[in-house]
């Protein structure tokens, strides 16, 4: 397939506003000039959580939009400064709560980068599996909720059926359906079982037909097409300027995927394509997410085919908990166990940043360590937060009902945005 992208033409805010106003003026000459300010959210079903957008309307055309975030702020970054590295893992579940496994992996990789550790091949492969099932799960919800926002209720039910199967997989893998807390610094809490792999195989086989069904329901549907085509166009330049990442960036035609650009977890060994859009509108972002799920299945199949044997955790007796059997019976290990649990890792001084390609975009952890088991500062680069920053630029000029389509296509999670 030719790797060319046509130039994306996006009118700037002013032009869009004046165009909208002109067409409006033509119809209702006498009412021009009166602006209406309304609040959308924070508890609006289309805002996927608690996002509040203050909209200034001229008739039905939006002239100004100010997103107001922070309703779900829990102070995760501050919490992290007051606990050991491993204790923070359950908190990462609650960032992007649609893909907790991917957050766990990204966080563990960030701390491992600080420690200078590299996981054995089997551990890495397991992490790839967890990342990709998390991606499918998050995109399924993204597309289901998006379709429901623009009026297609059925899709949501079918995507949720598939997500339920993914939760069953998570339960087999981690022991919890939702708040997985799967990784630890230096490995995973448990190895994958053969049952899990056969279940995953079954899921992959059943998933593609289900995805085709969703495809049939949406892609060639005139109503969905009309509501999303040429709505919310983000030009390539804007996408880069506003620091978008993930499917939103690729929907605008920028070929950037952290898995390809800065491969981690041996992603360079797997054969997969990065889908990019050609127009940068809501419909392209939908298409990119659909294709990404197919690619995730491709990656999953490759991992399952060549799942390496061997250990899943790092070997560093000084910094990883000793084996439980040894702790129970021998004094030295017991003492070491107590020291490690109470004092935490012996992390070196320094600062690291690690960004991973999460379903919503690049989830980054910046850790500033002054040594010891507690980070001095932990900054979370939340993709949803950054992706939302384009709203004041994107929304003006659109009609009121397009806001729902645009918010749905940006696919953000407030848990991560407000952190």
């Amino acid at each position: 397939m030719p790797n060319t992208v046509q130039e994306i033409q996006a009118l700037d805010t002013g032009a869009k506003v004046s165009q909208g106003a002109e067409s409006y003026q033509a119809s209702t000459e006498d009412m021009i000039g009166e602006k209406l300010v309304i609040n959308m959210g924070p508890s609006h079903p289309a805002t996927h959580g608690v996002l509040r957008v203050v909209l200034e309307l001229d008739g039905e055309t939006i002239t100004k939009a100010i997103p107001d975030v922070g309703f779900l702020h829990r102070g995760d970054e501050k919490i992290a400064e007051n606990m050991q590295y491993n204790q923070f893992v359950p908190y990462t579940d609650r960032l992007d709560y649609l893909a907790p496994l991917a957050n766990n992996v990204a966080y563990a990789l960030a701390v491992e980068k600080l420690m200078g550790w590299e996981l054995p091949p089997r551990g890495k492969a397991i992490r790839v599996i967890s990342c990709e099932i998390a991606r499918i799960s998050a995109h399924l919800l993204g597309i289901g909720a998006y379709a429901m926002d623009v009026g297609a209720m059925t899709v949501f039910l079918y995507t949720f059926t598939q997500r339920e199967y993914i939760y069953n997989l998570c339960e087999l893998l981690t022991g919890a359906r939702f708040t997985t807390s799967y990784t630890r610094v230096g490995g995973q809490i448990r190895d994958v079982l053969p049952e899990f792999l056969s279940e995953l195989e079954k899921f992959c086989d059943g998933f593609l037909p289900a995805l085709d069904e969703i495809d049939k329901l949406l892609t060639r549907n005139k109503i969905f097409f009309d509501r999303t085509k040429d709505v919310g166009v983000i030009s390539k330049k804007d996408a880069i300027a506003y620091g978008l990442s993930g499917p939103n960036l690729r929907g605008s035609g920028v070929d950037h995927d952290v898995r390809k650009a800065h491969p981690y977890l041996d992603y360079d060994q797997y054969d997969f394509d990065v889908p990019i859009g050609a127009h940068g509108d809501c419909f392209d972002r939908y298409l990119v997410r659909m294709e990404e799920m197919r690619q995730s299945i491709r990656i999953l199949r490759q991992v399952m085919k060549n799942l390496p044997d061997g250990p899943i955790n790092i070997v560093d007796p000084k910094n990883t908990l000793p084996k439980k059997e040894r702790v129970l019976m021998s004094m030295e290990e017991l003492i070491h166990h107590f020291i490690l649990v109470t004092q935490g890792l012996d992390a070196p001084e320094g600062e690291v940043y690690f960004g991973a390609e999460n379903p919503k975009g690049e989830l980054g952890f910046y850790i500033n360590s002054r040594g010891g088991g507690v980070p001095h500062r932990l900054k979370i680069r939340a993709p949803s937060f950054v992706n939302l920053s384009i709203l004041p630029k994107l929304l003006p000029g659109h009609m009121m009902s397009d806001v729902v389509a645009i918010l749905g296509s940006l696919d953000f999670v407030m848990g991560e945005c407000d952190r």
């Binding site: 397939m1 030719p2 790797n3 060319t4 992208v5 606990m83 491993n86 204790q87 923070f88 893992v89 359950p90 908190y91 297609a152 059925t154 059926t161 339920e164 069953n168 339960e171 087999l172 981690t174 022991g175 919890a176 708040t179 807390s181 809490i189 448990r190 049939k216 329901l217 892609t219 060639r220 549907n221 005139k222 109503i223 969905f224 097409f225 035609g253 070929d255 394509d273 990065v274 889908p275 990019i276 859009g277 050609a278 127009h279 392209d284 298409l287 990119v288 659909m290 294709e291 908990l321 439980k324 059997e325 702790v327 129970l328 019976m329 017991l334 166990h337 107590f338 649990v341 109470t342």
Partner: protein, 176 residues
């Protein structure tokens, strides 16, 4: 390799709105009949039907204390779980085991052991750090209470949920 996603070109027929609706109805109808015949049954009639039998052995439900085959309470009140618990849900008040007790050589046990189930996040760190195999996350997951105090599990409740666990390392049988 980057691939550009293909945008469909709607035919005249598809542009008429109705075919899309009919196609959607067709898919829904297919699902309707398949689920009628039980082929794609996805719903579970909770609470009559439960998922419990599918839960893996390591399912992370409510944390609870266990006793071993000899009826000894495993917890020695080392307070490591209290220390590691990220939301600080655990409170332990240790006490000395009286000398006339059969297990006096263990020396310490919890006088009170409370887990605030409103705070608990089911992360499993307590089980992971416990050096005595005393606390386990069980398959119980549905708790209700009318007051906040109802949701705080005390020692008695925790042993009720935990029950007896066999096959643990019984080092105190040999050690003095």
């Amino acid at each position: 390799m980057a691939i550009v996603v293909k945008r469909p070109k709607l035919s005249f027929w598809e542009k008429l709105y109705l075919p899309g609706i009919i196609k959607g109805l067709g898919i829904t109808l297919r699902h309707f009949f398949l689920s009628l015949t039980g082929k794609t049954k996805v719903s579970m009639q909770y609470p009559e039907e439960k998922w419990d039998s599918h839960l893996p052995e390591y399912y992370r439900g409510a944390p609870a204390l266990v006793t071993d085959e000899q009826g000894r309470e495993r917890c020695v009140a080392c307070q490591l779980c209290e220390f590691i618990c990220p939301p600080r849900a655990i409170t332990i008040h240790p006490e000395e085991i009286p000398s006339e007790d059969k297990w006096a050589k263990v020396e310490k046990r919890p006088q009170e052991f409370e887990i605030d189930m409103i705070r608990c996040i089911y992360c499993g760190l307590c089980e992971e750090v416990c050096p005595e195999q005393a606390i386990f996350l069980r398959k119980e997951y549905a708790f209700t209470g009318l007051k906040r105090e109802d949701m705080v599990h005390n020692k008695k409740r925790l042993y009720e949920i935990g029950g007896v666990r066999e096959g643990l390392v019984n080092k105190w049988n040999e050690l003095k």
